[in-house]
């Protein structure tokens, strides 16, 4: 037993050297874990708002009258549309159509940028109405929405990079992981917005 030769070990190793089956790629798993930690940060910021919301419902209602729902509803629609464009882009990549991919991801970036722009418009209006970051409502409003806005900006830059790589023919029906990973992030940003929209503007 103890004189077992290395040849035997080599033969034995043959069937051991098959790479482990992976049901989820490294990059995708890492992205999911990253998003899990992002959920926690947003949850903290949202909780800060919710505590205030339940303690001072009257104050929040006053601000709601100030805010109005038209602009933010348009903005929500813009962001949802961008997620749709994202899905279409991924579909084009899977269909081996680089041009279509670039077009749809470009649209995603454009809609994301429009969202940030409209958020800027809304911030300016709110500042005119006297809701600054120093006010009790203001700080709890700006912290989560601006943090989300920063995520949209990062997403827009990322979309532009995906589009640029797509232009060079980097993605195709066999290799679209890069688009998928970006998609995970982009849909996450979208879903977070749906929470923020519901919790801050609607209820």
């Amino acid at each position: 037993m103890s004189e077992m030769s290395l040849e035997h070990a080599a033969a034995h190793a043959e069937h051991h050297n098959v790479p482990s089956p992976q049901t989820i790629s490294n990059a995708k798993l890492a992205m999911w874990l990253y998003l899990a930690s992002e959920v926690v940060i947003f949850a903290t910021l949202i909780a800060v708002y919710l505590i205030f919301r339940s303690n001072y419902p009257e104050e929040v209602k006053t601000v709601h009258r100030e805010l109005g729902l038209v602009l933010v509803s348009i903005n929500t629609f813009v962001l949802l549309t961008s997620s749709w464009a994202m899905v279409m882009g991924l579909r084009e990549a899977q269909k081996n159509n680089s041009q279509g991919l670039v077009r749809w991801i470009g649209l995603t970036a454009l809609l994301g940028a429009a969202f940030v722009g409209l958020q800027g418009v809304e911030y300016t209006e709110l500042a005119h109405a006297g809701i600054s970051i120093g006010t009790e409502f203001g700080m709890r409003f700006y912290a989560p929405t601006a943090f989300h806005g920063a995520h949209v900006i990062v997403g827009v830059l990322w979309a532009l990079r995906v589009a640029a790589r797509g232009r060079k023919g980097y993605f195709n029906a066999q290799n679209f992981l890069g688009v998928e990973i970006f998609g995970l992030y982009w849909h996450f940003v979208d879903v977070v917005w749906l929470f923020l929209f519901t919790i801050i503007y609607l209820i």
Binding site: M1, Q22, V40, T44, F52, A143
Partner: protein, 569 residues
Amino acid sequence: MASITAPMGGETRSIPAPSPRIADYLRWSIDHKIIGVQYIVTSLFFFVIGGALAMLIRWELLTPTLDLATNGSQYNSLFTLHGTVMIFLWVIPMMAGFGNYLVPLMLGAKDMAFPWLNAFAFWLIPPAGILLLLGWFIGPPEAGWTSYPPLSTLYSPDGQTLWAMALHLLGISSILGAINFIVTIRNMRPEGMGYWQMPLFVWAVLATAIIQVLATPFLTGALTLLILDRVAGTSFFDPSNGGDVLLWQNVFWFYSHPAVYIMILPGFGMVSEVLATHARKPIFGYRAIALSSMAIALVGFTVWAHHMFTALQPELRIPFMITSMIIAVPTGIKIFSWLGTLWGGKIHFTTAMLFALGFLSMFVIGGISGVMLASVPVDIHVHDTYFVVSHFHFVLFGGSVFLIYSGLYHWFPKITGRLLDERLGKLHFVLTYVSFFFTFFPQHIAGLEGMPRRIAVYDPMYTNINQLISFSAFVLGITTFILLYNLVHSLVAGERVGANPWRSLTLEWATTSPPPPYNFVGDPVPFEDPYGYGTEEATAYLDALDRRFPPPTKLPPTAAVPHPEPAGD
């Protein structure tokens, strides 16, 4: 016979002797082994700084009056920086260093899943350390490592902002590192190593990484709000402006209680390796140890408010008392499993083993005082006294630091190809063990007698006990230099050893010491049971390993430092 008797498949050509140069460790590298050493050396540097701060604290406390500090604020800065440095720049990065070095090796992998991300996570640490220490010059943070508002918002100078930024960077580093560990452990195990064949250190790192991914973002969120309060004119934590001080305490402890397990769980993993290897016995209760790590990770999220018994609504005390006591159960399972491992083993009293045994005895004391603190009536009595200080030093120094020492003696030969000097090691152990006990055990008594923590001027009735504590602390401080000398001395003059000086069955030993750049030539085959000591198969496997990587012949016998021969597998 289906058992595995030799470590390597395919390749039989000899491995070129690796020769990493010092310059490789000073620059960006994506080799997990270099990154691991970078973590270890960086955190040792901060250990010395944090230790120096501790010495200053003990110097100040030699007499009941102000000696060293000219005012209380200076003393506040001392213990604030001491705590922050020791936790965030010593224990946590040190554990990350062991994880980085060992996890890919134990999995038989060539590197981590994301080598670049790994390097990035490390390189966030030096700037964070610099930011934190720069605070010393622009008005050091004074609010303690917990930085409760309003101390940290209204009363602490600008260094507090740098403190928050530094912790932000360290938090991001920690999250990125943890994501990397989880992906590596899930996706890069070799064929033949299911979750239940993983070394327990890998289990512990997995549990730690899960905590880091889910708890550290709470710190990130809280720090963001704290920075906004300090620089952007918000008042999240200022009740006079619609804020809430308890918000910080809740969110902070929702991170920082799980964080105490970030500081100890990898050590629990290390001690499982050390005990089984140096007692030449299969680990007792493998699954119990693995699962109890997960249980600790889970229950760790439900106990945070026991840090706030005196601040919280009284009706929440009992539930948190219950969860805090429940979390002692998985820890107890581990302790008894380790004792079961030792029972009937062939114990080799190497320095690694001595520190592991020292950990068992000291950590139990910290665990018992932990259960005492979890019970509300005791906690209210000793709240904010030296009893608390004693408790967390027993679990952090008697726990984490003893385990780090044990790990250094155990894995130094793998990292460098040379043994740490065992005679110096034993001196290090004895002095550390004794001076540690006399530094921290009397603090229980001081605390029960009512001495508050975080004060520079105390009632003269505590003078004697504080002098005992301070003198022991100075000895404890000096012991660190025995280790540092040993590390440097053994690096150049330590006894050369082969691949597997301790005859261990885990995969990190199935390659040269130090391992070549891609760890293994060919694909290593894990032994079916990482702790299957004492069987014929294990002996055959270890002998084959020695033939594959012959230990250096001790030509000048006088040069060889005697160390216990672990015979009989």
